[in-house]
Symmetry: D2
């Protein structure tokens, strides 16, 4: 159980690019990274395209004004030149800038923690992976829901064969906040998400399905997709070609099948993300709207509900526990857990500790590549009359 004690020798010097005053996700990065002040110390920022607002915000968070930079280029250049400069930056900017910022940071010798979807193309992602390897640097991807402890429980139960052979994975990440088009015009957060130049080739597939897709990889590391089919729609016509609703069918290499439904037009839905893994003997189901409970349905037995923090859980689930049973954990704990793993990875990388790295389960550059690859295959299918495509 985590209680805030240091897991690495000293906190990493950390900078943020994007995620300023008007950003909702920026606070999740800070809450995650700074949960205990033993993994990260925020020392520099380029929070905002409005440089003055970004500086004011940084100062309000307690930063030295001199290290609240006007833009990411300035940050990287000046911090790289300091002996006490940032060791790692988080990139919480719109999708279209991820690639250039990540590349620049790596070239400046700085580790990167980047928002999803990582980039526009998997070619870019593979190139960045190569660059990171050359530089001996870590790239982490903020699949922010993936740090909930019960996901580790699911992973362990599946690995232990408690479900039997896996037959189906049913995934869903939906909400209704874009059910009408008003937000497309008035919300800064929404505007760029429906602009292909900034968002890339997808809207909801990239914005939300990548989260749930990563969960499936986390839970089922052996499960490989053979083919998929994606049908996507733009119910608000002005969003085309970007989709606000998408339905995907999946065939895995081992004969299992899957579904994904991503939507921002599921009017009134407040339960967002769900994943159900069905085996020959039993199923597991988890939803991020109630992340401290795990449904375990064994065919022919009473249904079970497992609760976070309980001694009957697997060691790996208890390792990420912070508050204890009966004390509700939320999304902030999930972010704190993945940020802690990023820190452990960076520290291990700095120390050349490949053994630690090889055992650490977290959303790394490969998870970022796989997310982009997922999108590429979905779009290829969708744009080809929603036909089946072999997974490339």
């Amino acid at each position: 159980m985590l209680n805030g004690e240091k897991q690495i020798p000293r906190p990493l010097r950390w900078g943020m690019i994007g995620g300023g005053r008007l950003s909702q996700v920026g606070y999740k990065h800070r809450s995650g990274a700074l949960r205990d002040n033993t993994a990260y110390q925020l020392v520099a920022s380029a929070f905002d395209v409005d440089a003055a607002r970004g500086r004011d915000f940084g100062v309000n968070l307690g930063l030295d004004a001199a290290r609240c930079y006007d833009n990411y280029q300035q940050l990287l250049e000046q911090e790289a030149a300091r002996p006490d400069g940032v060791e790692v930056v988080s990139v919480a900017t719109p999708n279209g800038t991820h690639y250039e910022i990540t590349r620049a940071a790596l070239q400046a010798g700085i580790h990167v923690i980047c928002e999803k979807p990582l980039f526009f193309t998997s070619a870019e992602a593979r190139e960045i992976k190569q660059l990171a390897e050359q530089k001996g640097l870590i790239v982490g991807v903020t699949y922010g829901f993936s740090g909930h402890p019960l996901l580790m429980q699911m992973r362990a139960m599946i690995a232990n064969g408690e479900l039997g052979d896996i037959r189906m994975v049913d995934m869903q990440y939906t909400h209704g906040f874009s059910a009408n088009e008003a937000a497309d015009k008035f919300s800064d957060a929404q505007k760029w998400r429906v602009d292909p130049k900034i968002a890339g080739p997808t809207f909801v597939l990239g914005d939300i399905s990548t989260h749930t897709f990563y969960l499936s990889q986390l839970l089922l590391p052996q499960q490989k997709i053979a083919a998929l089919l994606c049908d996507r729609q733009s119910f608000i016509a002005s969003r085309a070609p970007l989709e606000d609703n998408a339905m995907v069918l999946i065939r895995y290499q081992n004969g299992a099948v899957g579904r994904m439904w991503a939507s921002s037009i599921n009017a009134g839905a407040m339960d967002s993300q769900r994943i159900r893994v069905i085996g020959a003997r039993a199923s597991l189901e988890w939803t991020d709207s109630n992340p401290g409970e795990l449904k375990y349905d064994v065919q022919g037995q009473p249904n079970q509900t497992l609760h976070h923090g309980m001694p009957y859980l697997h060691e790996s689930a208890l390792a990420d526990e912070r508050l204890g049973a009966l004390h509700t954990e939320g999304l902030a704990e999930s972010w704190a857990n993945i940020y802690l793993k990023f820190a452990i990875a960076i520290d291990a990388k700095q120390r050349g500790d490949e053994e630690t790295l090889s055992k650490l389960v977290y959303p790394d550059i490969n998870a970022g590549i796989e997310g982009v690859r997922w999108l590429e295959n979905c779009v290829r299918s969708a744009d080809n009359h929603a036909c089946w495509v072999n997974y490339e």
Copy 2:
């Protein structure tokens, strides 16, 4: 609100074919038909392929032994010859016999209430429709879940535009009772369902998805399918070509989309059937495992839960209410409601009251045809590499 008083001048003389001692569904027919003794009177039967067991069972239910026939042919022949012979028979036999029994009954001048899926082919179903029309007889189909009062509430709310334009219909009917193959060998009820000669060209699609598909027709009478795609699997290999899991994507003519998931290998799932209708403004969701509650999710407002029997419901939902708010209704009430509508239809037909018939909402021969058509299109897609097929 219904309280058992007669809705038609006198109870119909009713016979049952199939649905005997070992049948689970037979009791639902009887519970539905005989709920109040004012719509039907059970007077004859051919309950069982084991004629002696069938007769014993009938006598145990209070039937005259002389009218417990050895088989349906005998029943139809002898009852048709009696002045007080049955006016209507229910057919609760395995799928493969529905067509011949229904045809024979109609030819004998007897109305028919038949299990789903109605027949193997829609050509048969259309032929039977023609025969019924010639004979002036009713054919009803026991989509047994479709009589729950809140479905009428959903239908009314959708018709009134309370959801806005319909964008998506998400359907599901799954359970895990065939997750392993033991039942295929030892359970009479299961054995024939996986034998294509008796079950027809599908297993779970016909056995369960037809129920939920009919619900979508009940709720959205204007919604027409343009194309669909079905991927089906036989996780227990010995069931092939019959599927124990199927995933369908739907494109409606008006631009809406849909999904269906039917499965008997969803290990441990105990919530069976669910339908969510998503409009531009709001969604409605109902599940048969909690049929007295209806979720009404208006985007941007608190989520609502409507309860059966409450005065705020539409007149059509209250018309089918029996027990009143706080008093849980179950599947038996649903069956009672559709059996009552069959009786009203038969009485109206007998009296030549076409006005009543035109207003009555119930699963008639057209609903039966549509169910078979749904299966034909699903199979055509599935057997053609799960490609998109235009809905024929």
Copy 3:
């Protein structure tokens, strides 16, 4: 599993007193008794204080008009005189008439099934018990929720020690349908319930808490009350001295404790009745708003949910099952189950089969006495400044 086959040699000739067209509970009696037409046959009635309306109603249900009597006196007199007269009557009239009707029926040699609360005083109830014994007749009490199959599961699990020593019983039956006083004036069903001359010394305690109290007796036959304390309120002042809200604390003889909350002013509550039994090792919780699920909470283990109709249930729970797993049962099944047990009891009594009677678990005259005794103790406490009273 029950499928409608006869459990007694022939259906009992049955009459109803009260429960006519305007009654909500009358339909529950009929649905329960006539579920299968193998336990009862409705042959006579005195449905209504408005004799013409009562007769019209009876005819509408299919009764012979000549046996639709003007009042209960007439019914008892004339039916007792017929060779084919009623063997048993159900009494579904306002509380204040239960005693006189029950006594008259027993004196006429007719078994009685009576609504709760049985009478105004336990002295009356004991007198009636003596009369019934003299006459060799059965008196059953319609605690209508007590026939749900999972209650038998709870009873069996508790008897088997699966909960460990019982420590607490938490009971609740609340709704909000009398939150304002409008209904007191305009609803016939409500008007008499707040009139002490007709309702007796209590409103919600008698009207609803007696149901849940009987459940506690059914589940915990060994648990005896040592003392209780009842605080009751009349939030609508015109109802005083009758309470629309009551809170009871209980001390059992074995050191366990309990609570009861009965209310008709729990605004907006739609989950009515709940009982949680807490033992040293585990707890069981059941609610009548979702009667097919049973929560089984073992301390330190995943929470379990048991579902009706599943093979893992105790034999006694499966014995009362009708529809099977996944097929929702409601209040009507519960009524059918207790009515069937009344019939079995009456038949056994008629045949002098005391062994069957001694094994049958159903709400008999003793359960009726205990219900009235519960009310007397509650009122004695409430009227004595809500002090503790020894249970008498």
Copy 4:
């Protein structure tokens, strides 16, 4: 909406007494106080009765070893002497030490944030209140669940009359983690809780019911208790006179009534704390196991569920929001919210800003006094044969 920006000019210098490595609640204090590094800075500690372990822990959290003191006396003495000494300390020690530590800290001129129950007697609490006022210092009490945003929504709705006149408050805080006595012997956290010398005159009443009692004060500031009755039990006999289960009935001055149930022997219960407020028109219900949802039940209308972070909420509920709708908040956010309010209060006190103080809603010394007073009245009743006592 909160995003971590400073709410006071600079972070307060903060020390912790108790709450070290083996403490579960200590991490909640730190997570709450240090959420954003703009309200508090942890600079000193006396974490542990084992001084070496406490120092090691402090260093592991990043503290200067020189300011990791052996005990609270040392901390207060040396910090008070430093120009940069702590301004505020949190007291997370067993109950029996709260009074002496709080008094000593106040005498040293240091603000105090103290665990509940505040002290053993309300006389002590009133004395401390006077001392704090003399010194111009704040005493806050960590009712750690009271910072959930939807509680402010409830408070606003009740104040606006949306429920009508309040009739009943039903409270519950139960779990089963002390269902057996093993933990009494082996768990340090449990051992002192059942020792009256350290825990004070109660176990579960003080340990958990004080939380829910404070919620009732937060939601219903005008509601005053007139009388109460408490029956408490020690199901594990060795705990006597301390109770592991308690049931309280409440009469408020305005005619409303209430209930409280506190228990640590509710075997298998995982939903801990619940409060339902019932008015003449509607009810509100909230549980800390699902703190982002609020049930709003208006009699005669569909039930509503409100979700945290939604624009339809009252301003006061949105003011405490951190993550936004669909992003689950947990107990850590609640602690962060109350710690932030403590900081605002301390800053206002330091600046002599009584206006801010008068408007701020948070668990202050008065809430601490009221908690102890609640316990005194409960114990007085319980120890007097569970009789009614006027609230003193």
